[in-house]
Structure formats: structure tokens, C-alpha cells
Point group: C2
Chain length 346, copies 2
């Protein structure tokens, strides 16, 4: 089992998961499945993953066989594992815990496509349902504090399997980044009496120059202080702290906005590597007035180097206004057709 | 001029430096100087950089010509610039400042080598002196709060020029990471009456399993909660909050430990891309009891992906104890000979 170790200087936890790397010199993550080689995520290869936790499949078909649309399985190389005691121990000046938690993989399609944009927009709805279903289920394990849903696309985005998939890692401690966001939002709420992210949504819908996609209930925008070129945040317009509380019809609408935003990104930067991640309230807490869930999309087209590691600040060579305009100018129907063509649907 | 924009949700500043990228789609930093092509940092090409700020050269030789050993010039594509007013303005819910500061390049050798390990260890001493001289000088500009010294090595380490060099960026705001470290260290000092990093040094020198290099006054170790495989921190054993206060003979000793640590890293992972960065007290503050300067060396052999961006936590597939042992086991004389051979000195 791995360990969770706390760095008391930086105030962050590190998962030391020695079994994930083979040899010390061979520590590069990713590329476990060679490009164009055998794919354990394709329909028909269900026996090459651990048994499924959840799948949406046609009625009457047995588990761990074909006929599914979205399939959730434990990560074969988990960063954190479900068995064990989360007790915290001191080791001199340090803190350490057993590496308990959960690590799940969401296989987003039975077909071997590299991106959700290569599938019809409707196919993304059930992926969002699966995130929600798993988060609701994991709330029952009282050892777990937070569920982070994320997606890695492309080799330099950290993807080890190219077949379109996303992941969920549950931690027994609050993630530093979410804790910081919640603290900043709570402070704003206390002084201004409003949710900071509601305020940002209102500001951006007034200004419009950083808006990329908009629907009745959601908006995708280039954040004012974007860390990366073409960074996007997708948020509900109305206040909501917990993703898993989203009604299903709103979730379907969200899937549509996410799909369109990714299409506009893919068309603008020619399918860049990227990560997305879902920031939502912790599993252990009831909905709050001051925090607001959102998805952050991080294109990996600039390097993070000494300055960023040293400061926690970023240098962004593309103004968010320029990126938003570029993505708004994408001709959607053309982009959709090209992407479906890459996915083999046309 | 660029802008410094603050993200109120994450509490971080971003330098939006639109002039650093060429076109929106061409936003990849780095690789401005093609490999094996013309090198503006080599001796004889002094007219291809902005005029030097500082150089150590033989007596009587004119500035911006040959005969130097270490040369400091302004970055030709600065992230922050020295002219302007650092005044902070509100823009709706956001804060923004002019992108003022400083951005300097330390050319570490007149010879076209890729790494300080390809030069004799003694050559690194004057690089450390140059860091110190520049930091002392920049203290006089009262608009500047912090000077971050860092080094990017290798294309995936973010280096845009292969000729061995490091950089300094001065910011008019406190870096988030340093602020966090100082806050954690101050809290520890208040409750325990000791410097946290002094305590860590003492713990590691007792345990020894994470020690990589040791001299009279310095130690290089694999931190207990290393974020990355083969991460190293190099610290003075005795308490010291500000790098620029280090006496010159101690600084020379530090250069030797840094050189040996980098040699052991290069030999263990076959010259990996890496970053190093210097964390020290801010320019504006007198020495303090609770903070302790150190250099963090971050090998870039694992990818930072959705989990890391979402949580601020890291997954490290190599135990720091294993990495330290591997680096201790490097036969130093062999490694030195190979590195000097690569640099053309043998």
C-alpha cells in the first residue's frame, strides 16, 4: 500500500505509491499502453480490466461483457486503495497516513476514440451521470473526504491510455487547492454577502469578452487571470456548491456546453493535450452558500518551469480575451464534422 | 507592458505577457533558439543579447565583449519590465497591476555546454556570487518585493536556450508558494520555538536514509514528502533565512554541494530535464528566525496532470529513500569524468 506523506513546509500531501513505477530510473508515468497496440478499454476486452463498479448497458446483458455505453472500473494501478485504516501518525516533524482512498476509471465510450469531441455530444451526458452516481455512492464511505474527477488527454497531458477516459481519486484529506478556493470564497462571502463565483459569472456575462459558450444554465469562459493559454472554466450560472446535487436535465445541458467548449478548444489548437478537473464541495459537507462548483480545462501548450514551481504564479503569453475570441470564432458545424470524422463516425 | 492579474478564487497572480507568445495558436514557450543553431549566449556573440547588467571578466576588458566567465543580461523577452508604476487597481471583482519587476538571465559559462555539471565544480561558484550580487542590488528598488532565482534545463524543463543559464524574476507581490512556506514555518516557530527547516535538517541528519550529499555547512536531501522522483532540497545546516547574506566562503562550499548533487542526479537519470529554484526571504524583509533558505531541485520525469492540478497534491512513484540511495551509490569520479567529457573539457 502507498503512503500519504505531508510536507510541513509547503502544507501539501504527497502520495508515495512506489508500486506505480517500475524501477527508479524508469519513473516516467504514462505510455503503459503503446499507441495503436492492444486496448484494454475497448468493447470486447472487458476481462482485461478489474471487474466493473458501474456500467450503463442495455437491459439484461451481464456485467463485464459487451453492450455498455459507459463503464467504470477500478484503476489497475491505483494511487490510493480502499482497504485500510486512515489513521494519521507522526514521524518526527512529519505526518503520515496509509494511502487509503479510491481510484476509478470512467471509460467514456466502447469505441476506440481519443476524445469526447469525436463522439456525438449526447454521448457525454451519461459520462456526467456516471460521475454523479459514483460521487453519491462514495459519500457513504465516511473515511473519504473528497472526490476529484479529472481527465488527462494526450501523452503530455499525462494520459497513459489513449482511449477516451476520465478518472476519480478519492482522498482521506482535503485537497489543498480546493481548501484554498473554499477559504477565499468564504472570506469573500463574509465581507460581501455574495458568492465570489456567482459574482464572477455576473461580471463576465456583463463584459462578454471572455465568454466562450453560453446556455440557459451554464457558461464557459476564459478566466480573467487564466494561468494557461486557452484555459476555460465552465460553471453553472445559478448558485450550486455540489456537482452531485445537479438535477439530471441540467446535467445534460452541462454536458452539451462542455462538449461544445472542448470542440472549440480542439479546433483552435488542433487537438492539444489538456486536463480537465471538477472542483466541487467535499463529500463530507452539506451544500454551502459561498462555494460554487466548476470545471477547469487546462490546455497543456506551455511549459510549467522554475518560475511557476517557485512562485505558484504563472506566465501566460496569450491574453484570455484573445483566446476567448479565437474560440468563439470557430465555426461549430465544421469543427463538429472534422471531429466526428477523426472518430470514424462519418 | 504585461499585466499582473489576480485570480481571487485561487489567490494567485498571473503575468499576462502577450508579447512573449507570437500568435494565439503558437503559444508554446521555449525552443526560440534551434538546437545546434546560432547561440546568442556563447562568447563572441555578446552583441546579440541586451547590454550586460553584470559580468565577471578579466581586468581591463570592455563590457559586452569577450573575456567573461559569468554574464548577466536582461531577458530579451521579459515577463516583467522595470519601467512603470506598480499601483494596484480594481477591475470589478478582480485586481490588476502593471507588469513591473525585473527579468534577468545568468549566462553561466562562455562555453556552449548544456549543464553546470559539464564544467569544473569551481565554475559554479561565481554563478552563486552573481545571484547574490544581483539580489543585493535589486533590494534598492523599493517597488520589488521578491527575487526568485531559478534554472530550467532541457526542453521539457522549459528551457528555450540550451546554453547553460539561469534566471531571476523580481515580482512586486509576494509569491504564493513562499508566502505559504513562510506562514507554515512561522506557525511552527510560534508553537515549537524552533525553525521548522532546522528541525527537518536535524531529523534527516539523524535518520540519514534521505541524505544525498553532505558538507560541513550544507546538506542535499530527498525530502520526506518529495513531490517528484529524485526531488532534492539543498539547505544550510545552520539557520539562515536570506541567501544573499551567506558569506562568500560558505557560498563557495554551497556551490560544491549543488554541483555534486546535480552530478549525482544527472548520472542516476541520464541527464534528465529539471528545474531548480531558490526559496529565500523576501527582498523587503530583514533576516527572520523562522524561515530558512533552500534550493529545490525538481526533475521533470513524471507528468503533472489532472490530479495534481485539481488537488495541489502529487503522486510520486519512487520513494525518496530509494532515490536518495540510488544517488548516493553513484560513483562520483566516473560521473564527473563522463560529464566533463560531454562538455568537451576532456
Amino acid at each position: 500500500m502507498g503512503q500519504l506523506r505531508c510536507d510541513p513546509v509547503g502544507g501539501r500531501w504527497v502520495i508515495v505509491a512506489a508500486e506505480r513505477g517500475a524501477r527508479p530510473g524508469d519513473s516516467r508515468r504514462g505510455a503503459r499502453v503503446p499507441k495503436g497496440g492492444f486496448c484494454p478499454f475497448c468493447e470486447g476486452n472487458e476481462d482485461r480490466t478489474p471487474p466493473e463498479i458501474l456500467a450503463y448497458r442495455n437491459d439484461g446483458l451481464p456485467a463485464d461483457g459487451p453492450g455498455w455505453r459507459v463503464r467504470v472500473v477500478p484503476n489497475k494501478y491505483p494511487a490510493l486503495q480502499s482497504e485500510g485504516d486512515p489513521e494519521q501518525r507522526d514521524y518526527g516533524v512529519y505526518e503520515v497516513r496509509n494511502g487509503i482512498g479510491a481510484h476509478e476509471v470512467f471509460i467514456e465510450s466502447p469505441k476506440h476514440v481519443l476524445s469526447p469531441t469525436e463522439l456525438p455530444a449526447d454521448d457525454l451526458k451519461e459520462v456526467m451521470w456516471a460521475y454523479q452516481d459514483r460521487m453519491r455512492e462514495l459519500k457513504n464511505d465516511k473515511r473519504l473526504i473528497y472526490a476529484l474527477v479529472f481527465k488527462n488527454v494526450g501523452e503530455s497531458g499525462g494520459a497513459s491510455v489513449e482511449h477516451t477516459h476520465s478518472q476519480l481519486i478519492c482522498t482521506p484529506v482535503m485537497p489543498k487547492r480546493v481548501q484554498e478556493e473554499m477559504a477565499n470564497c468564504e472570506e469573500f462571502f463574509k465581507s460581501e454577502g455574495r458568492c465570489l463565483l456567482c459574482e464572477i459569472v455576473a461580471h463576465e456575462l456583463r463584459e462578454r469578452e471572455r465568454v466562450i459558450v453560453e446556455s440557459d444554465r451554464f457558461v464557459a469562459l476564459a478566466p480573467y487571470a487564466s494561468r494557461f493559454p486557452f484555459e476555460m472554466w465552465i460553471l453553472p450560472k445559478g448558485h450550486a456548491s455540489h456537482f452531485e446535487e445537479t438535477p439530471r436535465d441540467a446535467l445534460d445541458e452541462f454536458a452539451g456546453v462542455l462538449h461544445e467548449a472542448l470542440l472549440r478548444l480542439d479546433a483552435s489548437l488542433e487537438q492539444p493535450p489538456y486536463n480537465y478537473l471538477l472542483h466541487t464541495g467535499p463529500l463530507t459537507r452539506a451544500p454551502v452558500d459561498y462555494y460554487h462548483w466548476h470545471v477547469e480545462v487546462i490546455p497543456r501548450v506551455t511549459s510549467v518551469a522554475g518560475f511557476e514551481w517557485g512562485t505558484g504564479f504563472y506566465i501566460n503569453p496569450v491574453a484570455p480575451e484573445t483566446a476567448a475570441e479565437c474560440m468563439r470564432n470557430v465555426v461549430l458545424e465544421e469543427a463538429r464534422e472534422h471531429a466526428l470524422g477523426r472518430g470514424g463516425a462519418l
